[in-house]
Symmetry: C2
Subunit: 298 residues, 2 copies
């Protein structure tokens, strides 16, 4: 097992209304995750609210997580930022803090061109000794990676994986084949969008970058083991248990829903980064507690 | 003339690769603008790269601009930020520094709901005594304001204007009528997208939020005076002179183009916020110098 393969759990980052990270609550979250069988922990992903935290708060969170994990599993750090100089700075800080890998999304305000994204990724990869995973998330970054661009970047030293957005079930095998044909052999292809983990693994994906595993690791570990072993029947059974939860994620988005799950299971994840409002209290999602109950059933 | 009417010039914010604002160069830029006949100066708009500057750099830029303008024209400050708490903090800092108004875009990473944007705007407006202009810029913020939401916000104390994105020429009169019918009488309706200033003014718009006026104020002042006076013939003549420039803005975006203009006229605006690359040096836009020459012809 190398980094960027298997199940990576993306925990939320507990913070208050002012965006100050609660490092004790965060350490407790990742400490719990590190012993559940996940293959890595990715801090400061999209639902880890990296976009809503200052660079100093992000560095505080990274240091707390790495200390709490204590080397039990690799720690990947999201270093996406609107400025190239900021992403490089965050990458250097993560490396100094002892991170094992980096995750980089082409966070945008002005829509970026392929050349701008390519130069940005090369500049960040060139500034660190850590392996870097391309994070393709068109829904939040407003940038769509072409296969050509992913392949170009896969040949850049240090860029060793991609996290792809969800597709139609039929699309995974074709996409993975197309990318594998042109990328180096050790380039890892993973997927985000929790509902796609089962079909993507069965189609040969290397990794699941999982939001739900950040708060509910056990069912995600079971699904990963069955699907990576190619056990279609058990994968289908577990996927069916998760389906109501995946429907809520697809309909309402993972970010807001994760705060609702945390509230239901009594996990301290702080509050959602306003203006983003978590589904908690009187806004709790109808159907979430049933979906949760079904998902954690064995 | 009140704030949020007439021509507002949006200067770029000179900064280096690290995002540190060159306050001397910025003061020189706004000092020059303040005596050209523009009705206000809006600092830290989209092409003022507010999204690419830290809050402390933004506050430095605001202080430098207000001092350089010295009360000759009102200064409006862009306070958009991904977090509500940050936008409130920036609004408070702008107010303390002596700003005359605020401009707020619903900057997003996770796509925002109408309710989230509404609560965000109310929270910021409620934290300041300054009049606030809603900045609708779906291309960069990934949020589309409905007329219903604009009308709802127009009735909130302190929210006194909207900056709308460009439309088809025929759309301005209808849109302005529809909004005026439901918004308070003193609610100001302006447009961005420099190519739309002439048709929008002729259709009754109150304001032009102008990128080009941030570096080339004179032709923008002439166009504004003719169009606000309802002088259709002179407006058409001036609009024709600007058309090649508008075509470049529409095709390549204002942000990258403005660095090319600055290079051609010898204005120090720093470098574009990488990963965004300005059209300068060997990347200079073909046709820009001809468009520029035509635009400044009388």
């Amino acid at each position: 097992m190398t980094i960027f393969t298997g199940l990576s759990a993306f925990p939320p980052t507990p913070a208050g209304e002012d965006g100050i990270v609660d490092t004790d609550a965060f350490a407790a979250l990742v400490d719990r995750l590190a012993s559940t069988g996940v293959d890595s922990i990715s801090v400061l992903g999209s639902t880890g609210t990296y976009a809503y935290l200052d660079r100093d708060q992000r560095n505080r969170a990274v240091a707390a997580a790495i200390e709490a994990v204590g080397g039990r599993v690799p720690v990947v750090v999201g270093v996406g930022a609107l400025r190239t100089s900021w992403a490089r700075e965050l990458a250097a800080a993560a490396e100094s803090a002892g991170a094992n890998g980096l995750l980089l999304a082409p966070m945008s305000y002005a829509k970026l061109s392929d050349r701008e994204v390519s130069d940005h990724f090369k500049a960040v990869a060139g500034s660190t000794g850590l392996p870097l995973c391309i994070y393709s998330n068109p829904g939040t970054t407003n940038f769509e990676f072409s296969h050509d661009l992913i392949v170009e970047l896969s040949h850049v030293a240090g860029i060793s994986a991609v996290e792809m957005p969800p597709r139609d079930n039929e699309g995974y095998a074709t996409e993975i084949d197309q990318l594998r044909e042109r990328a180096p052999d050790n380039f890892r292809i993973g997927y985000s969008g929790d509902w796609c983990a089962a079909p993507a693994f069965l189609a040969g994906a290397d990794a699941w970058h999982s939001v739900v595993a950040g708060v509910l690791p056990e069912p995600a570990v079971r699904l990963t083991r069955a699907a990576m072993a190619g056990n279609v029947e058990e994968t289908s059974r577990l996927q069916a248990l998760c389906t109501p939860m995946w429907k809520l994620f697809e309909t309402y988005g993972s970010l807001r829903t994760i705060y609702g799950i945390a509230e239901l299971i009594g996990l301290d994840v702080g509050i959602a980064p306003l203006p983003v409002q978590g589904f908690t209290g009187s806004d709790q999602l109808p159907g979430l507690s049933e979906a949760l109950e079904r998902m954690v059933a064995n």
